[in-house]
């Protein structure tokens, strides 16, 4: 089994003892060739420094726990293969969120934003279970499927310059999720979501840099979702001015 030694420079912050975050360097961490950055962090945790804290679970890009900034770029550390990096790797917590400890950030703000867009099916009439499933064609499914793939890893919030400037912005993942339900043929909740989605802190704050879509590990394309909502909201606005419009 081939191995490589790497140096990991990790941003540390333990609020009980550190007045501010600092970099700690772990030299000559013995790694296997096919490892990801998360494996190296686990090696450090098990063998070198029990005090290093980070979140992780599935190790297969689906639980969304292990987002970090690796060499300046927001990444899932379980999908950041050592083979794609040099011998020195810098690991920091996700940007734009307060650091709770080490690589663990406080995500309360995101959890509130997620709730604010009402991410659940709002049906026209509640259907009885005895009436079976809704009919939904593959084409109807396809219209929202991409936006349902978000794992809430928050790489997009870390990359978003607008959220970094002003965290009242609802943000990419939450807006993409609103769009996911708006586009679902079983849902009629677009109006109910509009006060948040089309508010000053919603879609109009996005400056369409597209960083969110670039870093998304699931190809959700939040920037595309936001653009699509902008178009429908603009049409709504124009229609509301037309006599007899909605």
């Amino acid at each position: 089994m081939s191995t490589r030694e790497i140096t990991l420079k990790v941003l540390r912050y333990r609020p009980e003892v550190d007045s501010k975050p600092f970099f700690q360097t772990y030299e000559k961490v013995p790694c296997e060739e096919e490892w990801v950055v998360l494996d190296a962090l686990n090696y450090i945790k098990d063998e070198i420094d029990r005090t290093l804290s980070f979140r992780w679970s599935c190790h297969m890009f689906v639980c969304g726990s292990c987002g970090m900034v690796i060499n300046g770029e927001p990444k899932l550390s379980c999908k950041a293969f050592l083979r794609d990096y040099g011998k020195k790797i810098t690991v920091e917590p996700l940007a734009n969120f307060p650091i709770e400890r080490d690589l663990v950030v406080v995500i309360d703000d995101f959890v509130e934003k997620l709730l604010s867009v009402k991410p659940w099916v709002i049906p026209k009439v509640k259907k009885s279970l005895d009436d079976g499933a809704y009919n939904q064609t593959p084409a109807q499914l396809k219209s929202f499927k991409q936006y349902s793939m978000c794992i809430n890893c928050l790489l997009c919030y870390s990359a978003c310059p607008q959220y970094g400037l002003d965290n009242s912005f609802v943000g990419p993942a939450s807006l993409a999720l609103a769009h996911r339900y708006n586009m679902d043929s079983r849902d009629v909740g677009r109006k109910a979501r509009e006060d948040v989605v089309a508010s000053a802190e919603g879609i109009w704050e996005c400056s369409f840099v597209g960083a969110c879509s670039q870093v998304c590990p699931k190809d959700v394309d939040p920037a595309g979702a936001i653009q699509q909502i902008k178009i429908t909201s603009a049409i709504d606005y124009v229609m509301s001015m037309v006599p007899g419009g909605k």
């Binding site: 945790k45 005090t51 639980c63 794992i151």
Partner: protein, 583 residues
């Protein structure tokens, strides 16, 4: 200690916990719910389930077929009243998921599509591409957000159940952000803490699957049932243990050995053609397929790699379009982790610990023998899985029995007495002291990572796909030794905020207690049934062991193993037959 009063405390916010919470909220919005989890709900391991959830929907299918497949798949160790209730209820639960927005894959006409899965006579697995668990989890989480009575306590690590006067009256949990312990005073507690694959070294399970609910229930005197039945999934990626769904084979993928030969035909699964064919060859049950790998390895027919021996999963004939539509995650994982694109290459796979059939003993209402305590999902053993779970029955199980746990807890709390505050306070103080002792002791010599590794190795070696008296005895002795050494564990991080050294230490304690029940139950069951294969007792022995193993906590000593009759209603034990010429 801060006391948080609630009516129903639910520990674990994965599929079962969320489904239970919604069931309580829908049954009675005035009932307060504390949904407590050591991770945010969307991190729960339900997200990693790939293939799908079985429920009768097609016109050529029947509830009886699903019942028979499940009972036979479980080698008659299933409780048939529970299976019957399960197969009758699951179609409605899957429809409910559809109404809540789960993006089930569809047929051209807009109906829900189904795919074949192992050990099933008729195609009945509802799926959302190969991310079914992920979509179910997020659908449940997002749906749960609209119920104000569900109060979440995300990143609270539960440590102990409170038991007073023969009833479960709450749970203590550490707020991970502050390190402070809270006492949840509750009239009922529902455990939905999932499995414990991390007891083994090579597993599909995420880091959080450490048997915390098992440990808490067991130490509170609730028996753990059928713990020796550990499911090896036949197709894990070597090295990482990442799961490649049974859907790979459901869609037509085949398994071949070093000679390119479909070896399953030599193990009672053949003939190989016509293919795909239900309940045959690669669509046999998981226990048989993993056992076949073991034999191929003994014969020298596997392929050595840097990560150990493998066989090959061949999906090339499915073509890129189908793989991208039905198995996109599989393509991503195989390409990233082992550098083989299933569209063009053979993918190396080997059996990997995936699921625990055993767990907290419950009845068909998800109630444990301890009044006020319920359990659902993988952490529970309501006995629909018996000695071997069929693929795509576990996502259904967490819905059916999660909802059932919630509804029965509602009934229970309506007449349950108010918990005794003084008794709770005393028990809370004891739970706190166990944590404080970890921080203040100065004689700690043992390391978490070392004990964990020794446990992992002992369980894989002694309680793997095939076992015998010697290997299981070794696991028994080793786990007993490790539990003693754990008393001298050294907490190296003494801080309060998000102290993962502490949580890993508590997880290890839970895993060691549970590992010992697996080893002891495996040692004492002198027969071969389903996933429990004894080289020294090769036959199933219904005269002695058509019974559930019940492991009872016994302090520092190994558990006492007792036996409970299996519930048989209409299917008498028979030989499990797969393969054959049937279509």
């Amino acid at each position: 200690m801060e006391v948080i009063k609630t009516d129903v405390a639910i520990v674990g916010a994965g599929g079962a916990g969320l489904r239970a919470a919604i069931a309580v909220a829908e049954a009675d919005p005035s009932i307060e719910i504390a949904l407590i989890s050591k991770v945010y709900p969307m991190r729960s391991h339900t997200c990693a389930a790939e293939g799908g959830a079985a429920g009768v929907i097609e016109s050529d299918d029947s509830l009886e077929y699903h019942f028979n497949d499940t009972v036979q798949g479980g080698d008659w160790l299933t409780d048939q009243d529970a299976v019957e209730l399960f197969v009758n209820t699951i179609p409605k639960e899957l429809t409910q998921m559809e109404h809540w927005g789960c993006p089930w894959s569809r047929k051209e006409n807009g109906d829900v599509a189904v795919r074949p899965f192992g050990g099933m006579k008729i195609m009945r697995t509802w799926f959302a591409a190969d991310k079914t668990g992920f979509h179910m989890l997020h659908t449940l989480f997002q749906t749960s957000l609209q119920f104000p009575s569900i109060k979440r306590y995300d990143e609270f690590f539960s440590t102990d159940l409170m038991v007073d006067n023969g009833r479960c009256t709450g749970v203590t949990a550490i707020e991970m952000r502050s390190g402070q312990m809270r006492l949840f005073q509750a009239k009922a507690v529902i455990l939905c803490t999932g499995g414990a694959g991390r007891i083994y070294p090579f597993t599909t399970n995420g880091a959080i699957k450490t048997g915390d609910g098992w440990g808490m229930a067991y130490r509170a005197g609730v028996p753990l049932k059928d713990m020796e039945f550990v499911q090896y999934h036949p197709t894990g990626l070597p090295g990482s243990g990442i799961l490649l769904t049974e859907g790979c084979r459901g869609e037509g993928g085949i398994l071949v050995n070093k000679d390119g030969y479909r070896y399953l035909q030599d193990y009672g699964m053949g003939p190989p053609d016509p293919w795909p064919r239900l309940k045959a060859m690669e669509l046999g049950p998981r226990d048989r397929l993993s056992q076949a790998f073991w034999h191929e390895q003994k014969k020298g027919n596997t392929i050595p790699t840097q990560w150990g021996d493998v066989v090959h999963l061949d999906m090339r004939h499915l073509g890129e379009a189908k793989i991208d539509e039905r198995l996109p995650l599989v393509r991503d994982l195989a390409s990233s982790y082992v550098g083989t694109d299933p569209v063009t290459s053979l993918v190396p796979v080997r059996p990997v610990v995936h699921y625990m059939m055993g767990g907290i003993h419950t009845d068909i209402d998800a109630a444990t023998p301890l009044p006020g305590l319920y359990a659902a999902g993988e952490c529970a053993c309501v006995s629909i899985n018996g000695a071997n779970r069929l693929g795509s029955n576990s996502l259904g199980e967490l819905l059916v029995f999660g909802a059932r746990a919630g509804r029965h807890a509602v009934e229970y709390v309506r007449s349950a007495p108010e918990p005794n505050a003084a008794a709770l306070e005393k028990q809370g103080a004891e739970a706190q002291k166990r944590i404080t002792d970890l921080f203040t002791r100065t004689d700690g010599t043992e390391r978490v990572a070392v004990l964990r590794r020794e446990m992992n190795d002992a369980m894989e070696e002694g309680c793997g796909i095939y076992r015998d008296a010697n290997t299981t005895k070794m696991s028994c002795d080793k786990t007993t030794e490790l539990r003693q050494r754990f008393k001298r564990i050294n907490l190296e991080d003494k801080s309060n905020v998000y102290n993962t050294d502490l949580f890993q230490c508590l997880e290890l304690g839970n895993m060691l207690d549970c590992a010992e029940t697996i080893a002891q139950s495996a040692f004492q069951r002198q027969e071969s049934r389903g996933s429990h294969q004894r080289l020294d007792f090769e036959a199933r022995d219904d005269s002695k062991y058509l019974k559930h193993s019940m492991a009872a906590y016994n302090g520092d000593d190994p558990p006492k193993i007792d036996y409970l009759d299996v519930v048989i209603t209409k299917s008498q034990p028979a030989e499990r037959v797969y393969g054959g010429e049937q279509k």
